[in-house]
Symmetry: C2
């Protein structure tokens, strides 16, 4: 089987690295010439080609921002693709992608979201075990063709991922809570500290806890604006839910309700019983 | 030199583990009988004794909650201690501890805050390299005796810690931003997710980012209520600073000001240039 990877950053590059032995050939496709050169040099793909190479592919991975995925699906719908081609998109929100997929290739599309990543980006950030033991969400799988479904599942198994099936709407709401809102929170912490007059002294004290809480604020702003705009309403809802807990805590601190605050924290401890 | 450690949890236990070879004897002191047994079994201390053992000690480490430290200092002030005794407290806030230290032992006290820890607690959580390469803040060091100062610095060097000298007031404000507010934020994220009807499905998607952001919500509520109450005003100020950034982000999302949001995120990226 021939696989094309569109987008040779962290996600696409790591996929190539992990799947080199699985496919007969992996073709890299990226507008960014430097990324193409790096991907070849780092052995993430076998060769570089243009978008037309999708016509000779059995699997296409779309590992680019959401708006790019939507555009790519439109272009693919006009190509002379193999009937059994599986187009697997790795977009972080799913509803808008599925809704804008041209009908003639809807069965080719498998809408996926690998719950994996690091705060780094580009081909240099690719790591072979990025996907291992992580969750892969497959959305509205009943609308994908049977062969495409099977290809996607085989690939997930090879990556040693745990598959979760989910409705796209439900996925987008969950993703807001588990990923998008926490990113906004982390950026807010970073910006709050940076606004302080003595920011260097504050940061000098940073231990593990602060590093964890500010790590997501290293993320790529250009990529995340897309995710936030595609998932606007769910994101606002999850920020609202977070804000309401924060307000509760603040009120208890202000009014010195320490017993209540301790109970609230004990409730928070429970998260790790279900995680 | 004989060292007593009051409080055989994560902090006190890890100190014992790291410093067994440095002192001639390490005495463990703890109200909790189980902690005493575990500390002996795990080799964190040489022997267990009662509070009176401080009279034969050259160094005392107070690795207990803030209110306990304040009480312990009062009791120590009534003991027949060695003139050169160094009492090093590991409290997470410093102003209230320093202000309530009895004058007759003020020169004995070295007010310290090791910027180290994990989300776990108890003697079982002790690790030998907890302090290694971490920052140790020493507050208002000019009010400690010269011999006590020297003892504390020698100990920090042996632990391979980086010493930062700071005014207690300044420390407490910085600690609110770097540690206390992020704890409140993490507990707020945990509670917001737990309130959702489909919390199990949400959590099933958790990847590294969410694990980082919710890790502090594993922390011990009883210990943290003390820290929050001792540092109330700074904590409220830092929550306010955080909230104002969160509000800014929320407004930009609501009004679809994606360019501005991207700029705001780029500013947040800068944190890691100074960290």
């Amino acid at each position: 089987m021939v696989c094309s990877i569109v987008g040779l950053g962290l996600m696409g590059g790591s996929f190539g690295l992990a799947m080199r032995d699985y496919f007969d050939k992996i073709i890299g496709i990226d507008h960014n010439v430097k990324h193409c050169e790096d991907a070849l040099k780092l052995g993430l793909v076998d060769e570089i080609d243009d978008f037309k190479a999708i016509e000779k592919s059995d699997v296409v991975i779309l590992a680019i921002p959401i708006k790019g995925i939507i555009k790519a699906l439109n272009e693919i719908s006009k190509l002379n693709i193999k009937k059994d081609l599986a187009v697997i998109d790795f977009g972080s929100t799913k509803e808008s992608i599925i809704n804008s997929c041209p009908q003639n290739i809807r069965k080719n599309l498998v809408a996926a979201h690998p719950m994996a990543g690091t705060e780094y980006s580009g081909p240099q950030a690719a790591i072979a075990d990025l996907y291992k033991n992580k969750v892969m969400v497959l959305c509205n799988i009943e609308d994908s063709g049977e062969i495409q479904r099977k290809k996607a599942i085989d690939i997930c198994n090879r990556l040693q991922m745990h598959i979760k099936y989910m409705d796209a709407k439900e996925h987008d709401r969950h993703a807001a809570f588990i990923s998008h809102m926490p990113h906004i929170v982390s950026f807010s912490i970073a910006n709050a500290v940076l606004k302080q007059e003595d920011k260097e002294h504050i940061v000098a004290l940073a231990a593990g806890g602060f590093r964890d809480m500010s790590r997501l604020a290293k993320s790529n702003p250009h990529m995340w604006r897309d995710i936030f705009s595609e998932n606007k309403q769910n994101l606002l809802d999850s920020i609202e839910a977070f804000k309401s807990e924060l307000k509760k805590a603040k009120d208890m601190i202000e009014n010195e309700k320490w017993d209540e605050l301790e109970e609230w924290m004990k409730t928070g401890n429970n998260l790790h019983k279900i995680m």
